[in-house]
Symmetry: C2
Subunit: 281 residues, 2 copies
């Protein structure tokens, strides 16, 4: 495995591989790898000749009061895990390499970014779309790997790829969970042991909702209310949103007819967790 | 020469050429070709194995009160001229092909779009950057050709390519002029014969400014004033702007130290003409 830190060197590497006919998988990350990441690496290694994993904590997707500075980082351990998982290249640019002086261009996906996390994290998805667009142009992958846990992010990236006629496939991988159901996330490390114990309510409430749908409940309002009731059993939980929306456009719906997205954002202290599931009738 | 109207077919064509090792030149146009266009085609044909010329009157770069509907179009004649000039492919998508239902993604280049035309044509450069980004992803060119006449557009495209790490070179070609100096433009066809006769003041005033610089004048304010005086000799001319700005950042400057951009936008009736030159000390 090699580590590359400049755009110039990464492009040189990729162009050489492409000339030789190799297929390239890209897995964009912010580092601090856990088993969820490893499952996406495995998928890319299986499907491509070359797997590039980027590690870049992207400042433009963090708001001024968010956790950019304290976002967990462990580059040495990430490289060890990546190498064990057969990543070929870790691309780890610094902020100046990605956003040099007089940087001025942003990719803005409208409409679907008004809802859910987009409504609460101003500019977040503009930062995401911009850095992902850059990584696609730098790494020129045939396939890029994203996790279903970041459902809205996946929709934003898919919309961008479609709208801007980009030349790659987006592969969406399932959320990987701890044994009690908590979705794996680098941010779980922020949780106190009490918070960690209670955080299981996110995945539990998703299951409660599906059971209600199975029992015949169709009202989005009723389902969202029951989900909130379930989450509130955790005394340390502060609900930011618990919404049932259209799977594609992400706008609110009245009733679950065939399927719908149930998306959650819940804070425990300063730690913001998200989770989601597709409710199916 | 072949004409392709879908993104799918164009990509298929390009991928085949790229696999065979061909270099690709792209010349994006809004059609209604004149000799200025032909000079850019010639340059691309000279420098690349394959030349693709796109013809697309892009609605997202026109304001609500601008001339999208009446922009001159002559597809049959454009194809004839393109074929004579040895274009390999005319890419002519319709609006729905480029902006299908639920289209939602825009590329926004900030700062340099606040000045000159960007200050007067709201959303214009967002429309330009977006469609050019799409055309680059569809046509995958090694080089793309733009004309110096649209100086601010060139700067916006260069900024986007640099910022988003796009994989191509931007080639800037000189403005081609009628024998009396008027910069060639598809919009010249709108001019009445009186307006056409007077429109020569744009290029004349550019020459006046350079002569003043040659004679020692350095004040941007004085130079702009003299240019405006020159333009006002044309009784049908309405000046939108006549500004002396930094060549890269396009913001106003006080004095011409080494070089500067002199940019003009002048209306004759409803017809808006632009021109520019680099003033050199």
């Amino acid at each position: 495995m090699i580590v590359i830190s400049t755009v110039y060197d990464l492009k040189k590497y990729v162009i050489d591989k492409r000339i030789k006919g190799a297929t390239i998988g890209l897995f964009p990350t912010m580092g601090y790898l856990h088993e969820g990441h490893i499952s996406l690496i495995n998928r890319s290694v299986e499907e491509n000749d070359v797997t590039i994993m980027s590690i870049f904590v992207n400042p433009t997707q963090f708001g001024p009061n968010e956790d950019f500075d304290k976002y967990p980082r462990d580059f040495a351990n990430d490289c060890k895990l990546a190498e064990n998982a057969e990543v070929d290249v870790v691309f780890a640019p610094n902020v100046t390499e990605m956003y040099p002086n007089n940087y001025n261009t942003y990719v803005d996906v409208q409409n679907i970014t008004q809802f859910l996390c987009g409504a609460r994290r101003e500019g977040h998805f503009k930062g995401v779309a911009t850095v992902v667009c850059k990584l696609f142009n730098i790494c020129m992958p045939h396939r890029a790997y994203f996790c279903q846990k970041d459902y809205q992010q996946v929709q934003v990236v898919k919309r961008m790829v479609l709208d801007l006629n980009m030349n790659l496939d987006i592969v969406v991988c399932p959320t990987i969970r701890e044994s009690d159901g908590l979705a794996m996330s680098s941010r779980n490390v922020y949780l106190s042991s009490d918070e960690r114990a209670q955080a299981v309510v996110l995945s539990q409430s998703l299951m409660v909702a599906q059971k209600l749908v199975d029992a015949g409940e169709r009202s989005a309002k009723v389902l969202a209310m029951k989900v909130e009731q379930e989450i509130k059993k955790a005394t340390l939980a502060n609900i930011e949103y618990a919404e049932i929306v259209d799977c594609e456009l992400l706008n609110r719906i009245e009733s679950v007819d065939t399927k719908a997205l149930l998306a959650l954002a819940v804070k425990f202290g300063n730690t913001r967790l998200i989770d989601n599931s597709i409710l199916e009738v």
